[in-house]
Amino acid sequence: MKNVNDIEEIRKIISLHKRWDFIFMIAGVLALMIAVLTFMALFAHMLIDGMPRLNWEFFTSFPSRRAESAGILSAWVGTTLVMLVTAIAAVPLGIGAGVYLEEYAPKNLFTEIIEINVTNLAGVPSIIYGLLALGLFVYQLGFGQSILAAGLALALLILPVVIVATREAIRAIPVSIREGAYALGATKWQTVSDHLLPYSSAGILTGIIIGLARAIGETAPIITIGALTFIAFLPPSPIKQEFPYVSFEWLTAPFTVMPIQMFNWVSRPEEAFQLNAAAAGLVLVVMTLTMNGLAIYLRYRMRKNIKW
């Protein structure tokens, strides 16, 4: 036992321990640096390989057996249409479920089961959603390997993200807002639709953007429904010249999406195709990073501006 009255002795021990503080600081910065450098390497590698391929023709050409003239036209059109289906399916259902769990749900066993189930769904590997879509949408419901089947599969995948974001955004609104609305004679739904949803819209939007950014990059479920094929045509246009001006034929059309196109090129042995993969990857990363960045910015602004 050391002599505790000796203040010098204690100082010495503390300064000895403080050295560990310093060492750990460096370890922390290094660990962060590994993550940063990996990301830099990934981005730089794709930039060097892919940049020369990124020109107007790349965006307006179909995939081709000749690497130099291959492009991503059918892939980005496919991605846009699949995301459209995903958003239309996942947004109302996700917000609806979030609102129900936060505002309507009675405290009972069933509610608790739903809550546990939502967290479990968030942890199910994405490829399992692909198997569900293969069995249910492609064969059972007969959608085939179509935009509709892919869009719905991705919608199920991002549903937990939208639900959780909605719940958190609504939970942040103070009770006084609800009480004020009820005091003026508003019904429950009027309170939700006129007050809670508008006030939480930025938070919900953040969740939707993060969910869609994840869906854009998902490859496994789409491969699983069997969509890796050579697609050198566009789905039928949703807008028609003659009455009724809109058509839903595109929903059942075969398709390809950006990550699938990239996977297809990566898995070819020829180097020329791998350059195409780099270019497609670059487009994909820029798309997802922009969306995630937008979500982070929205959240940042929300935190700054909203003070209840």
Partner: protein
Amino acid sequence: MANESQSKISHPGKLGYSFRRNLNERFIEAFLFLSAALSIAIMLAIVAMLAKESVVFFQHVSLWDFLTDTQWTPLFDDAHYGILPLISGTVVSSLIALSVALPLGTIIAIYLSEFAPFTVREFAKPFLELLGGVPTVVYGYFALLFVTPLLQIIFPELPGFNLLSAGLVMGIMIIPYVSSMTEDAMRAVPMNLREGSYAMGATRFQTAIRVVMPAAFSGIAAAYILGISRAVGETMVVAIAAGMQPNLTWNPMEPAATITAYIVQVSLGDLPHGSIGYQTIFAAGLTLLLITLVFNIIGHMLRKRYREIY
């Protein structure tokens, strides 16, 4: 009754307003309930779909063969249906990933939660979030065309497809996931525990290791377990960089297939609906779902516990 007369007074000439309003409310509540209940329907549909095809599969293949046969060659003439080679690939790639993600993720979390100045944290957290948003197929490309050639400089005999590079990249990919959950758990530890420790003359490092980490134990354990489940279910990195040939090996320098990579491999081919090959991916999927579900449930139970303590 009272309600009805009131609404008549406040809305003269609008008979039935209250009735319509109530109907409207009921209708909306029903829609909201259905969308919440849909999550249960999805889970049931997943289980039912996997179980339905797996039942047919297990009529052809006994459970004993499935668990003990050391070969997985369902598409060959001499078909073997042993899940072990796929399990070994999954275990090896996950172990490599976790040996990267858990230490680095933990160090980053401790650093950000206990050491980093405000500005570093403000930049590091969104950056990590962006890192987590990069599509997995891009990480696969990176593993195959950047990390593997790099590793081949150190290990010249390393084949083009191998578990090592896939595992390493997967580990980097999971870092943001582990670090953000670990940090959340550590931040949930109340300030007065730290203040007490500082008052006793402990340094930041001592406080972090001996006070904050034990207090956040269940949260950190949850982060690890959910990280494991993420590694086990990861698909594209291993499918691209580790090859898709089932191979019963514990050597990370060899190519091998994981459960997920096998499902991808079969899906790439043109298997007729209802064939035994088609059923194998559902049996493999069921195995995967069971593994991840066990980890997820343990993880969420632990997470709930640390939330309840404070």
